[in-house]
Amino acid sequence: MAQLPSIGKSICVYPNPLGFGPLRESLARYLALGRGIACSPAQIIITAGYKGALELATLVLLKRGDTVWMEDPGYGVASGLLTAMGVKVASVPVDTEGICIAAAEAMAAKARLAVVTPSHQFPTCVTMSLPRRQALLGWAERERSWIIEDDYDGEFHYAGRPLPALKSIDRGERVLYAGSFSKTLYPGVRLGYLILPSGWSHASRPSCNCAIWGRQRTCRPWPQALWTKDTSAATYAACATSTRHGVPP
């Protein structure tokens, strides 16, 4: 807790609703190194864990009654949250290449959002194939729909080189990437982050701005400042890259 005096002044002002600046800068560097994602700190919003990111994205992107593709089997907490927020969940089957896009289109081609876990599908651990990734991005571009990439455990790949994040090949800017510290550091602090598409700043979308201010009540700057110390000095990226080649960090 030795860091607290240095951030003492921060409690006298309203915090940046996007999150603690140095943490977002550190994350932008890590994401380029570790996940192949080119983004600026301005695109990153610190959230109250993945569920905070999903809630924020849903508030900004969807209206009640919209349909969302969810993987089945999948993360029940996420589909429960979306159902509670008044959107319809289309349960899409998963095979050895990940979510079945053809089945999803047959079920609900006009869905507004697809929530996927491309790195290691939860709970089957299947990695989404490149053709499936391209089909998913193609659908989102055609329908002007959105994709949330839940990369909760993208760092934990043990055999061969991991595929870069889906976000890294998102040329049409349809993907909102959600990352989490719950698996790499600790789940109890409830810290995650959401990357918005580029050129899609919160200021250009009033609904997004309101949603961010409204939802940041659980996301205070102190833990973020402490986190920044842990994640800076490239420690976090080293942890994510060196061990991929079997070298302890």
Partner: protein, 103 residues
């Protein structure tokens, strides 16, 4: 961290092959924070998960993560909190837990 998890994962795979080969069929992927193993035979994954949980092992049934999907009789076995030196013991204890039927 990934190095540690890779070692723990490999140790649990070896232990399960030695102790539960007749009950579980590992479906190995390249990553993740748990192993997925199909259940061999007619017993349900929720029954095995419940037996393990009653002995203190936090296993999950794959079918419990399904909304409409069917025929998903498999277990999720977390490995991140099992030290390499404990893996074999855990395998044996799981085998005993799976065989246990409460009266």
């Amino acid at each position: 961290m990934r190095h540690l998890y890779a070692a723990r994962r490999a140790a649990l795979i070896d232990a399960l092959e030695l102790t539960l080969k007749d009950t579980l069929e590992l479906r190995l992927a390249s990553g993740g924070l748990h192993l997925l193993a199909g259940v061999v035979g007619s017993i349900g994954d929720t029954v095995l998960a419940e037996r393990a949980r009653s002995r203190g092992y936090a296993l999950h049934a794959l079918s419990a993560h399904c909304r409409r999907a069917r025929d998903q009789n498999a277990l999720l076995l977390p490995f991140t909190n099992i030290p390499e030196t404990s893996a074999l013991l855990i395998g044996r204890q799981l085998k005993a837990a799976f065989a246990y039927t409460p009266r």
